[in-house]
Amino acid sequence: MEFTRSEAPYLAPRADVAATMLQVLAALVPAALAHVWYFGPGFLFNLIIASLFCIGGEAMMMHLRGRAPETALADYSALVTATLLAFCLPSLTPWWVTATGSLFAIVVAKHLYGGIGFNIFNPAMAGYVVILVAFPMEVNLWVAPRMGDIDYVHLTMLQTVTYTLTGSLPDALTFDAISRATPLDAMQSGLRTMHTFAEVRTNPLMGDFGGRGWEWIGNFVAIGGFWLLVKKIIRWQIPTGVFAGLLIPAGLMYIISPGANASPGFHLFSGATILCAFFIATDPVSAATSPKGRLIYGVGIGFLVYCIRKWGSYADGVAFAVLLMNMATPAIDYVTRPRIVGHGRDSTPP
């Protein structure tokens, strides 16, 4: 009997990029629902627009590069980029801002570098930074969480859609009326105007341990993140590094001067800290590779986030921190190469 020839190994591979990406998306579902609960349906519209432009951009670039678009779209990485971008944006964002960010992320940060696996920078963060700098007003239009005790005007679904599509608010409202600073914003400006941490905490935007609403979104992100850890989709080094790099300096400064600094708990549960640790920094393509390298990479990101929050002009420094550490990745990889078995170590018995 005759048989076909193949190459060892002859067992089916256990892992798959598409399956991995889908698991990442699934892990973000609880956080997405929490986001909609607290901040309204704007997140969903952002997600739809980001997804459309990410997928469209990817298909267009694959076509321009002379490749079949399905090979790139089939791994769902464009969808993950779109989702992470949507999480970074305020729920009230005009569609052209989301579109610009998505297109830059996919076309420039991903495909101009060679496509998935070849990009140096995290595409979602690169896209976010571009629109942060190009559309500063729109990207800082944060709304207050929908919690009963906050006296505040919330837009209806129709009004949200109208704003997303046209960028104009209903006649009776102004931007000032509907937007509020984020908790991190409030904390930063409060501390810099010589209020103490305790005083700033009395702001109704502050929640029990972080920012109101944000802390719960953070918890749901953490649930998703731990699930990914259990499933070994991500490894422990990067999240641990990010938390250590951020919380250790924050803790030290808080111990030294508790009035003038935000507590580590506040840092942990505000802004994009948890999202960064589990979902953004863990993007495998732009992160370091070796286990030691990942720890250094994570710590670097955490520390840079702390520096930007403490001394920088932006309220949350996650995107910049990630991009800066992306630049350092090749160097980190080079100096943290593991010792090959059979090299270096004295081979006599201990």
Partner: protein, 504 residues
């Protein structure tokens, strides 16, 4: 000594694979009857092909020498049954994936008459080590764990250094393969006997018999055998069931916590590893005078009707063995000789069973695998690599053909275990790429060595020509000097001589 202990060292990475061994170990080893025809390849070992010592038409007896290594690296081949030499011709072999190689074909007469080999006068205990090595070579013994390195040469090389431990490899970490398990259950006494012969030959005082923890019956059988001989030098050790603990270097690391140096051998750190099947074969030859003419093989996989372990004569074709095991099922699509991680895929079942064939694996079609995607730098491959390489970096540099970087990142240390392939989410055939890259850097190293030699010869030649030129000039100058000094008088003398000659 029958109480098993766990490993000392720790293996980095590795994978826990589904064993698939229950189907083939449900029944004891079955004996395949001698077929009508036996095909013996001349190369059943690492090294040079053996040379036939029989002619076509010659009658041979079971156990008779039919091919000899002739002084080069190799092992002799013996006739597995009696009959007539039908032909010495090319035949498909598994080593070449189904392509042809020279083989001796024997038509069996069915009588299975054995060559009378006189038992040695002395018990092997009294034989000196060197003589034991020669005896082992005469038996055609090669490593039965898969690499088929001639055992006698391996022992002689190891004996030249400082050896401390003999490690008997009963680990059998690859899925589907269970021939060593079956052998340990049924012939534990012979395995222990073989170990003691080896210890005598190499003058060793310590031996570890190592088994994976998923083989409780084998552990029990070996424990009983060891208790029977009551030799305190042998210890039974258990290791966790992780692939690829059974690799030679990995086993040395697990059992003794020593690392075999890169490019070196286990004997460099005082260890010698032998498969349990090799030990049993040594016992059979030295004590029972039966050369290596048969082996236990696992016939298994989705494509085989009745998976089992069989004892078959070398030279039995895979087709005959599978027929004995109930034939193919309709799922049979791929034939692999060896295990699912490191075996060789063959195109035809006419290939014969050889000394290295530890498993005949018939698998169904691989589930439709998506085409290879770009590497997403997830690092899973580095997590599972037992040698702590960075397969991801090796892949980039193999694509770039960067010989220096490939060497620096340790490509030559890759044991081709296949773990990285299984965990790669982009389904990159890493092991196959590394195999190709290794061949390429060997090629490039050869070219460099040749170029270096040519350059040296060129420079030597230029030096020689320059020296000759200088010598010539020196001589010419000396002659000129001489001519100047002797000059007019010499000319006058010559003219005088000429005139006197003319006169005569």
């Amino acid at each position: 000594m029958s109480a098993p202990t766990y490993d000392l060292g720790k293996l980095h990475g590795g994978l826990r694979l589904t064993a698939h061994k229950e189907e083939s170990t449900a029944a004891p080893i079955q004996h395949v009857p001698v077929p009508a025809q036996l095909v013996l390849p001349l190369t059943q070992h690492s090294g040079d092909p053996a040379q036939p010592v029989v002619d076509i038409g010659e009658t041979v007896l079971k156990g008779q020498l039919i091919a000899s290594p002739d002084g080069r690296l190799g092992a002799p081949v013996h006739a597995p049954s009696s009959g007539k030499v039908l032909a010495i011709e090319p035949w498909p072999v598994h080593r070449r994936h189904g392509d042809n190689a020279p083989c001796i074909v024997i038509a069996c007469d069915g009588a299975d008459r054995a060559l009378e080999i006189p038992r040695p006068a002395a018990c092997y205990d009294d034989l000196p080590g060197d003589l034991l090595f020669e005896r082992i070579l005469e038996g055609g013994i090669v490593g039965l764990g898969g690499a088929a390195f001639p055992t006698a040469q391996k022992l002689m090389q190891a004996a030249s250094g400082d050896l401390e431990f003999l490690i008997l490899n009963g680990v059998e970490c690859e899925p589907y393969i269970s021939c060593d398990d079956a052998l340990m259950r049924e012939r534990a006494r012979e395995i222990v006997g073989g170990a003691r012969i080896l210890m005598r030959a190499l003058r060793l005082e310590h031996c570890y018999v190592v088994v994976e923890s998923d083989k409780p019956e084998s552990i029990r059988a070996l424990g009983e055998a060891l208790a029977g001989v009551d030799d305190a030098r042998l210890t039974l050790k258990q290791v966790p069931t992780i692939y690829p603990s059974g690799g030679e270097d990995q086993l040395v690391q697990l059992v003794t916590n020593r690392e075999v140096p890169s490019g070196g051998l286990p004997s460099d750190v005082g260890c010698l590893v032998q498969n349990v099947g090799t030990a049993a074969a040594i016992h059979d030859w030295i004590v029972d005078r039966e050369p290596l003419i048969s082996r236990v093989t696992t016939v298994t996989g989705d494509g085989v009707a009745k998976p089992m372990n069989v004892l078959a004569r070398l030279g039995t074709t895979v087709a005959d063995i599978v027929a004995f095991a109930g034939g193919y099922t309709e799922r049979a699509k791929r034939l692999i000789v060896g295990g699912p991680m490191t075996g060789k895929s063959v195109t035809t079942d006419r290939v014969p069973l050889v000394k290295a064939s530890n498993c005949i694996l018939v698998l169904g079609d691989i589930p439709a695998v998506a085409p290879e995607k770009p590497c997403i730098r997830c690092g899973e491959c580095a997590e599972v690599c037992p040698v702590q390489l960075l397969p991801q970096q090796l892949y980039w540099y193999a694509c770039a053909d960067d010989e220096a970087k490939l060497r620096s990142y340790g490509l030559t240390d890759c044991i081709e275990c296949g773990c990285c392939d299984l965990v790669c989410p982009s389904h990159i055939p890493l092991t196959a790429d590394f195999r190709v890259a290794k061949a390429r850097i060997r090629e490039m190293a050869d070219e460099k060595a040749r170029a270096e030699r040519a350059r040296r010869r060129f420079e030597a030649r230029n030096q020689r020509l320059d020296a000759e030129q200088r010598d010539r000039e020196r001589e010419l100058a000396a002659q000129k000097e001489h001519a100047k000094k002797a000059g007019p008088r010499a000319i006058a003398e010559i003219l005088e001589r000429q005139r006197s000659k003319d006169k005569d």
